[in-house]
Symmetry: C2
Amino acid sequence: MFPVKELDLRATEVYPGTQAVARAIALLKAFNDAQPEWTLNDLAQATGLNKTTAFRLLSALEAERLVMRNPLSGGYRLGVELIAMGSAAMRANPLRAMSRPVLVTLAEQTGEAATLEVLVEDYVLVIDEAPGSNPMGMTQDVGHRLPVHATATGKILLAALPEAELAQRLAEPLLALTDRTITDPEQLRSELARVRQEGLAIAVGELEPGFTAVAAAVQDRERQVVAAISIGGPSVRLTPERLPAVAAMVQMSARQISRQLGYWPG
Amino acid sequence: MFPVKELDLRATEVYPGTQAVARAIALLKAFNDAQPEWTLNDLAQATGLNKTTAFRLLSALEAERLVMRNPLSGGYRLGVELIAMGSAAMRANPLRAMSRPVLVTLAEQTGEAATLEVLVEDYVLVIDEAPGSNPMGMTQDVGHRLPVHATATGKILLAALPEAELAQRLAEPLLALTDRTITDPEQLRSELARVRQEGLAIAVGELEPGFTAVAAAVQDRERQVVAAISIGGPSVRLTPERLPAVAAMVQMSARQISRQLGYWPG
DNA sequence: GTATTATAAATCATAATATGAAACGACTAC
DNA sequence: GTAGTCGTTTCATATTATGATTTATAATAC
């Protein structure tokens, strides 16, 4: 379905003269849903920074409101300025702007939630979501990071990676989120082969029990897979009988967005 | 209604050893809805940075995905990592977490959209929104920056500022967004006096024509005004006859959140 | 086709800036 | 009372960021 680029492992060379900025960003990236608040010491330890350095960088981030202190505990949290920046980043994202109408239509046609996701570092990031018309689809998932190996979109994006990078990722253990999550690298490899051939990925109860998703690839003018779109909903509604029809709609929508990006099939 | 703290102009002293980080953040802050994409030169000029320095900092930000390049134009845009961080910042915000149930109830009771907003630098930032039950309330405003002088929430937050800081802000020209926007500093001052006394702010068609909002203050255990909540909707629904009842509900909700923060009336 | 302009990227000597060890002060636990 | 933990400040040091200049690249004009 889509070609796989070979050997592109981008040089992770750090640009000289950017140590302080890189470190500040590392501090920001330490915050997540599992640990939204950090003490200075823990954060310094987690990022491998000297306590003084972490303190100084955090002070700078705090002055700009990218980080805030909990007045009671003194702990650090992400600040309000990031909410504004994130929202601006969302609105400025060209891929999102292009996909939005298609995504909304897809959600209407299927009645299920449609998402647009991209690969960011180790995770799949939801950059847009059109809610399904049915209730119980009110999950506001935009901005969430999801594991690549347990999502339909993640499989699509993994399937398009050059072999070298894929191997690197499969070297890490695959976390079982449900009893249906694929945790065996070899099994995932053959799944990805199927995805590549069919241009379609499915995940039934692999992310969370009772949740099914179907995804397809969005490609740009250079035929690069730049994103994946999906339809997701309760497995009781997205039944094996209904899936083929939904999948076809997802694929059509993905092709529609790809065409807007200058992709030309054939 | 609520006391005004005197003379607190926080020292804008820059912490030594944080120049690079401060500059990098300044670059990020340059991006907004009006100008979501920048060329290197323009951005360097706008931030007052040397072109080389701007380039180097942007490279660091790009490597961490806080900034991305438009492959066609080569221009800089905010990157996807900020979407993830902003979303995490939202979920980690304690004020938002506390207010959410109250906000949802308020929106249900009134049928109009309820928001939670804080003062960030020159703007009011929407950090949460519970949609109204009526259609035409589907504005997803979270993350948006709104002008202080033309919003009900902004007036609430301005009214609580120490005189010195207020004077500083009123020195800047007040932009007219509609023909009803208050642009005269003295008029705004007397409006703020009224807001202070009544503990309530109203804006009818001051932000955009046909949009009305009512806001009240959220105070913490030290009686500091830390946020404002509001109900907003079309002026044809939020009529002068209906406003007092809605205002009372907004005030009750604000007090409810304040109490959760440890505020004790009296 | 060459010249011109604008913009981005690379180079590198310089010193300004970030760094981290050490010390301090404020709490808390025992 | 003592020891331990945590955040903050100080300060000498050299590592790291800086920016003038150069080179590369692309777009536009002539």
